[in-house]
Symmetry: C2
Subunit: 320 residues, 2 copies
């Protein structure tokens, strides 16, 4: 009987694979280094061999696997299963990745954008369980995300919806890697948070972070939050700017899809409650006053790194 699903989360530097039962309980998981340079067919072979190893460890045969869910960098179109291109997967170009994986595994495959898959993971088994309207924002190297409206992932006309990092919050503000100015990603990603601190140091702002920069040759987002907690003025200011950028984007997102929850995930949530508190503070500073309360809950994701494999598996579970 086919009682298991594989959930696969393909990133630029690693591939995570999980084996789940039909209740989305994670039976086992593994992570393998990935190179963005290898050819698509070679990546399919790698995924297949790592999956088989995982299944053996879980004492599950491939015959018991019902379907396979895959989250991959995009832009990609879940309807066609084609990855148009992806900065992190250099050899991919209009690659029919879904059908390639399906052919190798002999199973139906559901291919979804990686951020949407993680969003769906939170939707079915995490912080957004049972919620039909939510927004999920990941704070990492960039700012990504997913939107659920009317209980469905919002894909947009060609699968490129929820590029939430590129909402413009400060027109003519900082230049973003995408070419726009003032994107939320240019302020509030982990990388941008660290970069803003480093820039201030280079401009001569006094800060306890200066010793970190001298010792390590760089400042990380984690450093910024740690030094802010210890009272460093520059670090505090950088944290406030990050939180204000995120509070502002929450205001606009509330007015656009009116989610019940706005859920933050990604590496930066390790900063903990202080980050959440400050985002909520700036949300309240900027939100309209014509209503006394806005019933949106701003919170953290709960599945951590497993969100992608759980979400991909959940999407594949529904397939026939």
């Amino acid at each position: 009987m086919q009682r298991f699903i594989l959930g696969i989360d393909i990133g630029g530097t690693s591939i995570k694979i999980g084996c789940l039962d039909l209740n989305l309980k994670l039976i086992g998981k593994t992570s393998e280094p990935n190179s963005g340079d290898i050819e698509p067919q070679q990546m399919v072979e790698n995924i297949f061999s790592v999956s088989n190893r995982l299944l053996r460890q879980c004492k599950i045969s491939l015959e018991q696997v019902k379907s396979v869910g895959v989250g991959a960098p995009g832009p990609l179109d879940p309807k066609t299963g084609i990855i148009q291109s992806a900065p992190n997967l250099k050899t991919f170009r209009k690659t029919p990745f879904r059908d390639m994986i399906s052919a190798r595994f002999g199973r139906p495959v559901f291919l979804e954008n990686d951020a949407n898959a993680a969003c769906w993971g939170e939707r079915v088994a995490g912080s957004g369980s049972g919620i039909n309207d939510m927004v999920f924002l990941t704070l990492g190297t960039g700012v990504g995300g997913g939107i659920v409206a009317n209980g469905q992932i919002v894909h947009g006309t060609s699968g490129e919806a929820a590029e939430l990092g590129h909402i413009i919050i400060y027109p003519d503000g900082r230049l973003c890697g995408c070419g726009q100015k003032g994107c939320v990603e240019a302020y509030a990603s982990a990388s941008a948070t660290a970069a803003r601190a480093a820039e201030a140091l280079q401009q001569g702002t006094k800060s306890s972070l200066k010793k970190v920069l001298e010792k390590n040759g760089k400042v990380t987002c984690k450093n910024v939050f740690e030094h802010a907690e210890k009272g460093d003025e520059l670090a505090k200011q950088i944290v406030e700017q990050t939180a204000e950028a995120l509070g502002l984007v929450c205001v606009s997102l509330l007015h656009i899809t009116q989610p019940q929850k706005i859920i933050f995930g990604g590496g930066m949530v390790a900063a903990g409650q202080v980050l959440l508190d400050r985002i909520r503070y700036y949300f309240k500073q900027h939100i309209w006053t014509i209503k006394q309360e806005d019933n949106v809950e701003i919170c953290f994701a709960t599945l951590g790194e497993d969100a992608g494999i759980i979400g991909a598996a959940a999407l594949a579970r529904g397939m026939q």
Copy 2:
């Protein structure tokens, strides 16, 4: 045989009623003054009597009417049919308006937010025909709108999605009537466009609009566009600022739900092609450069004032 639908569009100053066949062809329509001060039950009676008069004119009996669609100011929840409150309907307070109309007509009633109803009208019979992902923005006294994603109206958790006028484009910018600063409505509504011109005149900026202000005691949005066309520098600048605000909001909307079309409606579209051209110009100025083309079409609505009654009727058509 029940071959007709009533589509009703309730505004603060008028109620529009249309009689449509099942192909959404408008058989006849009428408009009645409305007062935002009358009690809900009185409004139901007014709607009932005007509807009957319209039906007689169309030589259609009430027995031939299948269902009734109503677009009304919100916030309201289409699932419950309750209007929470509405600035333009002062006596409404948690009013079960759908059931009140249904009781009077003896027909199933679909109640939808007025902007969503107009959005759906454009979706089924106007500029967005056949499109599953679109955003509709109305430029009038305020800026309102609707979103269609995955072929469905996005309602949000309590029917308050698509408050698109309150997307923040310039943090710490102009104060909006909602209490936020820098809303797109505070720059790009017809009222805000006129207000910005009047403010500049009061501050002594030279402009051919000054004579209009002296003669009429006010400046309208129409005046601004007319004087811009004639080459007045202030008027041109105001038009540019309006268009830039709208271009900016198009960028963020594209990244959020990736609509195939962003459709502008409302009184300001009377300004014509120049407005559309300038919105498109600023969209291109602000949109990312990592992709050569973004397949979003920025265009005007085509149904004009009929969008609301057609959309409301279309929503009611699907009811059993």
